[in-house]
Symmetry: C2
């Protein structure tokens, strides 16, 4: 059966029953249909004094076209922990419409390790992304309106820093000239759109601790600079209040369920290649209050997702992760070892061994943060015993352990070994989490630290304009912010075609942007785009409602 | 008490109880919170063979800054009909975020004649507008993507007819150049954004009878022309299926309640000045199957809203309205009679009499459609008996009747006279509805017919390019479409400052656009904008969450 066939056969329970498993009463759930709900602000406030559960991060090797199954493993491990008698919940991100209509497909796990309702999660869900898009664009409209009606703040229209967003892959909007058409339409200027998942408002929603913190951070957004180079904030434009109102519902975490009827928090969805890539702090901290084990994921490979999870999310929210699971597949090892996609079906132990270098580097990297790691081999039917053994042996040689997991085919029954192992790791109390760099390090030094220690580049290439900009932000008091790297997810380098564990490369920095409200400096490296485009044949062309009234083509 | 204070004290019932009043079981309701729900497609299908109830249209004089209370009267009349023992429901439009953050304020009635939950209805509600925005912009992205990847359809990029939309008042986006930035970003071209309520996708959602009809109409959207002037359709871009999937939930009507716990359908929301201005056909036809009396409204004055309700919605959906209520206020009559807003508090019977000319012309106009009309005087505390009597006497002289209504202050108890009168009108069976013009009339003649018979203009001014374009569409087989006038709502003319009942003016047509999927030709007259701007001091500046956690400034 395909993922979608399995999802359609799901034996879903009313969302009130899922909430009850975590002690959340139906009064504290705002239903969206019968299988989705938002958790009330008052419930979240009421559990703040409780002890925290244990936090587990699921990350992965660099993604390959073979697919790794990070979300699938996150879901599987959550079900596995419940299966061995632990009270566990998972925390994952919401899906963006952009990739759904492009080529990525659904983002709700796979096989017998899925979160449902799959269609809703990959479409409008509870409307959070739409609320973020609206709040983001309201500020943009108010900013241009401010300039139009006299520009009291004396904004330098050449230095408007704030762009608009759309939850769409639309390359036509990357770079535009707006305010054309004469006096009634304002002052022409260059601008552009990013995809919503790259919005600073998305990052703020994911990092804010409550509505008051959300409003404060929204007010802190730098939208432009004056002629004298001083920043103009969203609160100078008086947009922070209305933006908060637009985001009030969106701030509440969403609760859904796995195929095994275990609770899943799905909230926030920044991409890990162009944003910080973690689900919301509110969802994670709430889950930690109501469950003993919380499994969360960070986007793409550990070089991007895990680094930002540790250096941005955990640093900001004071989270203490106690175990890391690095997901790998035999097929992805083979691709890293040089095998073409069409040849993945044939056994090739040598290629597996060769490709393990990519995995090895991620293991090393994760250990730098002081958290013990285990490798989950997400089993695929064509994997041979010799290939699996090659991965295990390699991982052992790196001082870690790799566990074969069959949750895709068997649900929780296929992943109890990993669940037991993770519990043992946590009970061993060996985690001593610390971020990679201290907050007081200089901004450029932070970039260099990540480039050298995580990406293993020899140097960072950045022209004077970029270095000057970083120094200017330091002078303005933003020097203690962490950096949020925007880089291709396919390689440790900025070249998406360089697989494995390359050395001797440089990290070219193209642009830096400050997210003063979210609290980080975005560092755009190589050719990465903050507004993706659609492929030659977008998956949207095949998406439709079929004769049975079901949605085809979405996955 | 203010509108919002009254709304906050509402004694709301669970939405399942409201559904039960109409015989809709809780299984057929998809809840959005505890006070909103969508009605299932299967329920709607199951009632198709039932007899229809009676349809009543509420329209108004040209709006003035004094406020008329059309929605308030629609809500009040619905409650009034229920109060006199009739099974009645109301059908109104959803609110747009644009005006909420600009200056219009809420769109859910007022005083003791409101629909709740007011905040939700004026913010994201059930996400329908966001779905429409997404579906609209997906087609735009797929269109530019098609051109980017080789332009197989041979689209003339100078003749791309399809713009993007945003649910925002953002003049900066009215006219843009997109696809800038070099080869990777496509072919630069001029374009722009309209507000979502002006989207053809919005019109299609409001006019489609079911999902299959929706998909067919979406496919019919003309997005561009080839070098040989032949049209390129949305289905040529293969976007119709995915757009339908995005709109699947949005197609289902929303059910909420009045302050008196009577059912209210709130679905679709095109503006009547730039679009056809009526709630959805699905909501109205469903309401007619489950209630004996259905009260609906059309936007702005009868020159725009009622004309399009009759000539577009009723024509297309085969609806047979049996009574029209024209809402007027003493204050608005005074303004039409030349009194300034600050002087409205003082009695001025002469000004009332003078201003009645505007009302008189709307009465005359409505009668041209063969439906009996009654005037509702929406009472305001400062109205004097002599002023009210002046309106009544004037209306009598026009062969109609005016009834004083106090629903704002008293709810249904204040409007039973009107309710009884409307029932009597319907039981009199005098309605013989017919559209103003036959479908087979030429497009330009249709414009002239509305201009002369409704706006009372002497002539239509349109240059050769526009007349040629209309003839071209006729040659392509679109000659039988009705026309959808886009014009200022403040006057019968295109000059918003000309109140009363002017004569001897001309109607300048600036642009024509074809909505082949919705099934009409949009005729843009005078200075009307399809993307509004924000005022100098947008209401968004005062919108916030107050210390009690309630939303301030939204109304």
């Amino acid at each position: 059966m395909s993922d979608i066939e399995i999802a359609r056969k799901a034996n879903k329970k009313p969302i009130q029953e899922i909430g009850a498993k975590l002690g959340i009463s139906s009064d504290d759930l705002l239903p969206y249909g019968h299988d989705k709900a938002k958790i009330s602000e008052s419930f979240i406030k009421s559990v703040q004094d409780r002890k925290d559960g244990h936090l587990i991060l699921v990350t992965a090797i660099n993604p390959t076209p073979a697919g790794e199954g990070k979300t699938t493993t996150t879901v599987g491990l959550g079900d596995g922990l419940n299966a061995i008698g632990k009270k566990a919940a998972i925390c994952i991100r919401e899906a963006s419409l952009g990739p759904c209509f492009g080529m990525k497909g659904g983002a709700a796990g796979g096989g017998y390790a899925q979160v449902v309702p799959m269609e809703d999660m990959n479409l409008h869900f509870t409307g959070d992304f739409h609320a973020i898009t609206s709040a983001h664009n309201l500020l943009a409209a108010m900013l241009d309106n401010h300039i139009y009606w006299g520009n009291e703040q004396e904004i330098d229209i050449r230095r408007v820093a704030y762009r608009r967003v759309m939850d769409m892959n639309d390359r036509a909007l990357r770079q535009i000239v707006c305010n054309l058409g004469g006096v009634a339409n304002g002052f022409p200027r260059e601008s552009g759109f990013d995809i919503t998942v790259a919005s600073e408002v998305m990052a703020i929603l994911c990092l804010a601790t409550d509505l008051a913190d959300l409003e404060k951070r929204l007010g802190d957004i730098i939208v432009a600079y004056r002629r004298d180079r001083t920043p103009v904030y969203a609160r100078d434009i008086k947009a922070d209040g209305a933006m908060t109102v637009l985001l009030q519902q969106a701030m509440q975490p969403n609760l859904v369920q796995t195929l095994e009827n275990n609770p899943a928090f799905v909230h926030g969805g920044p991409f890990a290649n162009i944003a910080h890539g973690c689900n919301s702090v509110v969802a994670t901290t709430t889950a930690l209050k109501v469950a003993d084990y919380v499994v969360t994921e960070a986007g793409f490979g550990a070089d991007l997702g895990a680094e930002k999870f540790f250096d941005i999310k955990c640093r900001k929210a004071g989270l203490k992760p106690e175990a890391v699971v690095i997901v790998a597949t035999v097929r992805a090892m083979k691709m890293n070892g040089g095998v073409a996609k069409d040849d993945l079906g044939a056994e090739n132990v040598d290629a597996v061994k060769k490709g393990c270098a990519n995995l090895g580097r991620h293991i090393e990297n994760v250990k730098q943060f002081g958290v013990p790691a285990v490798v989950a081999i997400n089993h695929f039917v064509t994997d041979t015993d010799a290939e699996v053994e090659a991965v295990k042996e390699y991982v052992r040689s790196q001082g870690s352990e790799a566990i074969l997991c069959k949750h895709w085919a068997k649900g929780s029954a296929g992943i109890t070994d990993l669940a037991e192992h993770v519990v043992k790791m946590i009970e061993g109390r060996s985690a001593q989490f610390a971020p990679l760099y201290p907050s007081e390090m200089g901004l450029f030094e932070k970039i260099e630290t990540i480039a050298k220690r995580i990406y293993r580049a020899d140097e960072v290439l950045a022209d004077k304009k970029i270095r000057d900009q970083l120094r200017e932000w330091e002078a303005q008091g933003y020097g203690d912010l962490p950096v949020c790297m925007a880089k291709t997810q396919y390689s440790f380098t900025t070249d998406p075609n360089r697989r494995g564990a390359p050395n001797g490369h440089s990290l070219p920095v193209r642009e830096v942007r400050i997210s003063a409200g979210a609290g980080f400096v975005v560092v755009i490296c190589g050719e990465i785009m903050t507004m993706p485009g659609l492929p030659r044949k977008p998956s949207a062309e095949n998406i439709c409602i079929n004769d049975d009234g079901l949605i085809d083509g979405l996955f």
